[in-house]
């Protein structure tokens, strides 16, 4: 009864709440570790009729609870620039543990199918085989086969770790922009190499036992109020990044040359006389080193006063300039039906329009391909 009244007196002046924030700007490592027991005991001295005495108070004890807080951010500026068909394209994130204790973190790579607005542009394709890996060797670069951990194990207070989202870019015409996000969930730590389960905040309405470690989520809304990828105090975080197909053209050039193979008269230096066989050579060079050119189609009209030599089209790696057009070519048939063709390169000759069409499967970045065919001078 007495205690209660005294307390009421103490509470009469509650205008000093501003004190609360004074010690909040501190690092997680300097915070009292979750599970620490804090006890308060006072002692007293006094005299009774001049005789000194001492007394000790009861001890008040409480256990410091777990204040779960962490950040997840993307560490790259702008989008990762990719090419169609690229494997293991990487976006990079960083997770920092601000909890007053060691934590595991679960990683979940997500496609953002809608345009999130946080990033400029409009998402119009998805990556395949999207995975998240921890930078195990801590070098900031994704190393396939080395960075294989798919969750963060035992991250100390204030420590951070890099996480990669790795995916494959599909061969999809028109693909320009794909957004992805790393969704991180705080999980129970304490056991090395054991994947903790996701933490659940202790119910604020439950009468808690004083000597247990409650879980209190103190993480912020990592993507702001406008976006629903994350909300404050849910033990989760999310950061966004993206992939951009930037190169939509390459420096492709075609060089055409001709040489006389045989004139029926001269063995050594055949001349371009009627009846002579000529070889035309089309050499396609892709000067853009990083990007292949797909489905390169060449058309060539056989000159007047010459006749196409049937079945003479060959497509393949260029030979030494001036000596051989195609070093290791595959012969192509003349008809337009290429269903039986399996090497990707196809060609046909239309005798009506005297037009030769060759379609190269892919000219690699910095690579070249040659097409040769023969004609006879009328």
């Amino acid at each position: 009864m007495f205690v209660k009244r005294a307390l009421a007196v103490m509470l009469a002046g509650t205008g000093t709440l501003a004190l609360a924030t004074a010690a909040q700007a501190q690092s997680a490592a300097s915070e009292t570790t979750a599970g620490t027991s804090i006890s308060n005991t006072a002692s007293a001295t006094y005299t009774v009729n001049g005789a000194p005495q001492t007394a000790t108070s009861t001890t008040a004890t409480f256990v410091v609870d777990r204040k779960v807080n962490f950040t997840v951010v993307t560490t790259q500026t702008g989008f990762t620039q990719v090419n169609l068909g690229q494997q293991d394209a990487v976006t990079t994130f960083r997770v920092t543990n601000l909890t007053n204790g060691v934590q595991d973190f679960l990683l979940d790579p997500d496609q953002q199918n809608i345009s999130v607005g946080i990033l400029p542009g409009t998402d119009n394709f998805d990556l395949t085989n999207l995975r998240a890996f921890v930078d195990s060797n801590n070098n900031g670069i994704y190393d396939p086969g080395v960075d294989t951990a798919t969750w963060i194990d035992e991250l100390a207070p204030d420590a951070s770790v890099t996480v990669f989202i790795v995916g494959n870019v599909p061969n999809q015409a028109g693909a320009q922009l794909a957004f992805d996000s790393l969704h991180v969930t705080a999980a129970a730590g304490g056991s090395t190499a054991v994947k903790g389960t996701a933490l659940v905040a202790t119910d604020l309405n439950l009468g808690n036992a004083d000597n247990t470690v409650d879980i209190v989520f103190a993480d912020d809304d990592s993507d702001g109020l406008l976006y629903l990828g994350d909300v404050a105090r849910n033990g989760q975080g999310r950061a966004y990044a993206g992939y951009q197909v930037v190169t939509t053209n390459v420096a492709l050039s075609v060089m055409k040359s001709v040489r006389v193979l045989d004139d029926g008269v001269n063995t050594l230096n055949p001349k371009a006389i009627p009846g002579a066989t000529l070889e035309y050579c089309l050499r396609v060079v892709n000067a853009t080193l990083t990007t292949p050119a797909d489905a390169v189609t060449l058309t060539d009209i056989v000159p007047t006063h010459t006749t196409y030599v049937p079945g003479s089209i060959s497509i393949g790696t260029p030979g030494v300039l001036g000596i051989a057009c195609v070093a290791s070519g595959s012969p192509e048939d003349d008809d337009a039906d290429d269903s039986g063709d399996s090497d990707g390169a196809i060609a046909n000759y239309d005798a009506g329009t005297k037009t030769l069409t060759a379609r190269l499967d892919r000219v690699a970045g910095g690579g070249s391909t040659a097409v040769s065919f023969k004609v006879k001078i009328d």
């Binding site: 004190l19 308060n40 006072a42 001295t45 007394a55």
Partner: protein, 161 residues
């Protein structure tokens, strides 16, 4: 046989409860220490009231109020009552609690004074004014004898580091 467990349990409970009381029991001065937190409760009129509740859910950065309640349970008045409370490790002293007398504070447990009269020696020489963070002990002195049956409370606010 069947009835005996009940009284036995009561005895056992008393036995458990006693040592804590026994530690403080020898003298007539009884002191209880409590760590409280401020909680907000909605009152019937729609306003929010602050109340102190036992510290159960406390995380770094939270403010707690340490309350010392003292009482003279003896028949004699107690003179020169001095209550000394070392700040527990992990807590950082902030201020006297509202309604409580301000304690004398100490940076070393030996010299006590008002906070603004204390200075901290700097490593490179010189001194600076002491801050609440520097306080390691708080102490209250009753300037009048504590009459039989008399008591009261002192309290200070601290932040969990």
């Amino acid at each position: 046989m069947f009835r005996s467990p009940f009284p036995l349990t009561a005895v056992a409970l008393a036995a458990v409860a006693l040592p804590a009381a026994a530690a403080a029991a020898p003298g007539p001065l009884q002191i209880s220490s409590r760590v409280m937190v401020e909680t907000r409760a909605r009152a019937a009129d729609g306003t929010t009231r602050l109340a102190l509740a036992p510290a159960r859910r406390v995380v770094p950065g939270d403010r707690v109020t340490v309350v010392l309640a003292y009482r003279n349970t003896g028949a004699q008045p107690l003179a020169g009552v001095t209550l000394d409370n070392p700040i527990p490790r992990g807590l950082v002293y902030r201020a006297p609690a509202p309604g409580s007398a301000a304690p004398a504070v100490s940076l070393d447990g030996r010299r006590y004074a008002a906070l603004d009269q204390l200075r901290v020696a700097l490593p490179g020489g010189g001194t600076r004014a002491a801050l609440p963070d520097d306080v390691t002990h708080v102490r209250w002195r009753l300037d009048r004898p504590l009459t039989a049956g008399g008591g009261g409370e002192f309290a200070f606010q601290a932040v969990l580091h």
